[in-house]
Symmetry: C2
Subunit: 437 residues, 2 copies
């Protein structure tokens, strides 16, 4: 059979990796797919030609993305520019031209995915996006296809490698957040502007996508609760350890009776859970299905070649489905477009979790009792308390508590009341706790 | 669209689970697949009707499997009888009748898969077998599709839950092999005849399949090195711990220059590896691809509903591919039939690994030197030695060594020579060591 011609948009980290994998493993890929896959046309504004192995095998390179998506020879467009513009316009133009699209662009899918998939559906083409969530881990395929027989209860993932690297270093080496962040930037794990990583926005893009394919709800990035790791202090990491927990930055999608929870935040999880031991820049996603029980998927969540691995897998999937009736293809969001769910995404105040609380109290009798009374009046049960001896010259002592599961709305009230006590100094720190069982 | 009609062979643990999942999650499955899937005809010699939820929704139940595979209304045959006969005859008859087949039968695929796939290929039908390896974990899909862009270097899995349960209990509770095996049998994890589990045969069936889809070699169960866990003693588990390792029963498939390694045996792995922390009856497979790096897949490796999860996922995959040209479907063994590899499976003597050695030595000067001289003469480097003080009334002391990587042929010579020393008592215990990095 004739080679499949792809058009590549972007020759940066991931684009370069795709060139390298598609050319370097061309023989292995053809042995598997039954067809050769070539890059017949690529576009990039600027790129480092010397740094991309296999670039000499790309037939034609231009600086105009639209030349690629309008090239009649190109059957599949691979979008690896990232960001919203011009990526979205190029993808929509490719779809308009009845070309299939493969993308690693989590921001574009999370924010414009509903519009893009609807256009693809109309034109009978596929938009594949395995690389948009958890890099090289085939998690989209696992949830959409491997777990198709399950009613998914929840999925929880470490889906930002930079954040996981920072939290791992804070725990393993007792380092502070700012110090590790600087190293992450120097090592190239974190961008010069680390906001997307440490404030949870990158994870929220990915979680938005995971939630949609787990429950069949439209993409709703704007409703995903997003909290970063910038307020985690070294002492929180140490106290968590003492309590038998690890702090991980999780994206959690859960189906409850009232609706769907979509939330990204630091989370205490029991240290004995496998996912609690996923360290460094690695990613992992734990999925709970009603038939299969818990399954976990682990691997590199970023990087040139791991991400390229997922991009190329999508390309082969598209090639294999070229002769399939569009209605028999795996639906973009796992569920048939006419069978999507209208379950609402819950406001964070309506979510129930357990909590880790840390506060500074005046070292005086009755303080603890005032705090526990507030919690008790709101029906909040305490699971464990750590009260440290004050240091020699200190007038304050830290109090650490683990509570049982409670509605966030009630916890917010409790925190307001506790912070108003004149025996409590400064603000109360809270981190949500999940058993993941 | 019309519901897809399946025929079910076997109503035991897994067959019953498939009935329960297909009927209980019928709505969720139809929302995803776009079509309903029903069981129009089932066959079982005997079954416990009261124990199978949803059995009343099976149109027709017979005791003749051939009535199902010859039923013109059945489009997909689901074989869950297990074993070689009559399963193989039924599957071949189904293929002859141009029906697609889904099976969980690892023994049949490992031993007769080449013949079965060749027949399926001729008739243009698919034989799907996700449930044959690692139960509910979508590992076949991950390797064949998710990692399609990779040259796989190796895969290593905990793929027998009974064995992992036994080793976990031995470590966590200091119990002996025989004691835990008895409990596993009482709890239903192990069969009355536990040979398939504890001697590694079940794991070897699964590894044979994993090796074929990782490297594109024909199924060669007879060449898979198979060693069980029956010789692991409590003291080995404890010494491994002391050295920073865990003992796991692994199936390992590796591509080296000389050929393919396919081997099932107890293995010391560094305790810090994620897979070293997969405990109890859970399974996990670690796969090393050249682009993606390491990825790990974890979940239930057996049980009614988890296995049914994989069976039903296969059914939906087959349904989706019904309108695909056969040559565009995912090949049975991941590689196109005309692109299979003829790399030889290596004899165990030609495999290199590191070793854990344990021996009983007379407590006399010069013993250790005699042992290290034998190893040194064969080019075997020692990584670590533990020599315990003799107990008060004992004339012998245990010596424990970790060696560096060496050809098994040379280690066999060393062991023969060491056992011949008159200062060494009884036989030397060896367990292979893998860094899995």
């Amino acid at each position: 059979m004739k080679p499949v011609k792809t058009g590549l948009l972007g020759l940066g980290t991931v684009g370069g990796g795709v060139v390298t994998v598609l050319t370097g493993n061309a023989h292995e890929i053809a042995r598997r797919a039954g067809r050769e896959v070539v890059i017949s046309h690529a576009a990039a504004k600027e790129y480092d030609a010397g740094a991309i192995q296999g670039l000499d095998q790309v037939d034609r390179i231009t600086d105009d993305g639209f030349a690629v998506v309008n090239d009649p020879d190109v059957e599949i467009v691979i979008e690896l520019i990232g960001g919203y513009s011009p990526a979205k316009d190029l993808v929509l133009q490719a779809i308009e031209n009845k070309k299939h699209v493969v993308t690693a662009n989590k921001a574009m899918i999370a924010v414009h995915g509903n519009e893009i998939f609807s256009a693809a559906q109309e034109q009978g083409v596929t938009v594949a996006f395995e690389a948009a969530v958890a890099g090289g881990i085939p998690i989209i395929k696992a949830i959409r296809e491997g777990l198709v027989a399950n009613r998914i209860h929840w999925a929880a993932g470490i889906i930002n490698g930079t954040g996981n690297f920072i939290l791992t270093e804070m725990r393993d080496k007792g380092r502070d957040f700012a110090d590790v962040l600087q190293e992450a930037q120097e090592r190239g794990y974190a961008e010069a502007d680390p906001t997307f990583d440490v404030e949870g926005i990158d994870a929220a893009h990915k979680l938005t996508i995971m939630g949609s394919i787990a429950f069949g709800i439209p993409l709703q990035f704007e409703k995903t609760y997003t909290e970063g790791i910038t307020r985690i202090e070294q002492q929180d990491v140490a106290y968590a350890d003492e309590l038998g927990y690890r702090i991980k930055h999780l994206g959690i999608a859960r189906r409850v009776d009232a609706g769907i929870e979509l939330r990204v935040h630091p989370t205490l999880i029991p240290a004995r859970r496998l996912i609690a031991n996923v360290d460094g820049v690695m990613n992992a996603v734990l999925v709970q299905g009603d038939a299969v029980g818990p399954t976990l998927y682990y691997g590199a969540g970023a990087g040139s070649l791991p991400t390229a691995s997922s991009v190329v897998a999508d390309v082969i999937d598209v090639v294999r489905a070229l002769t399939t009736d569009p209605e028999n293809r795996v639906p973009h969001l796992a569920f048939q477009p006419d069978s999507m769910s209208d379950l609402a995404v819950l406001d964070m105040a309506d979510v129930s979790t357990a909590y880790y609380l840390r506060m500074q109290a005046v070292d005086r009798p009755g303080v603890l009792s005032a705090v526990t009374t507030i919690l008790g009046n709101l029906g909040i049960s305490i699971e464990a308390i750590i009260q440290k001896e004050p240091e020699a010259d200190a007038s304050h002592v830290p109090i650490i508590m683990l509570t049982q599961r409670v509605l966030e709305r009630n916890m917010n009230s409790a925190i307001t009341q506790i912070e108003a006590l004149d025996t409590i100094d400064g603000s109360l720190h809270r981190i949500r706790v999940e058993a993941l069982d």
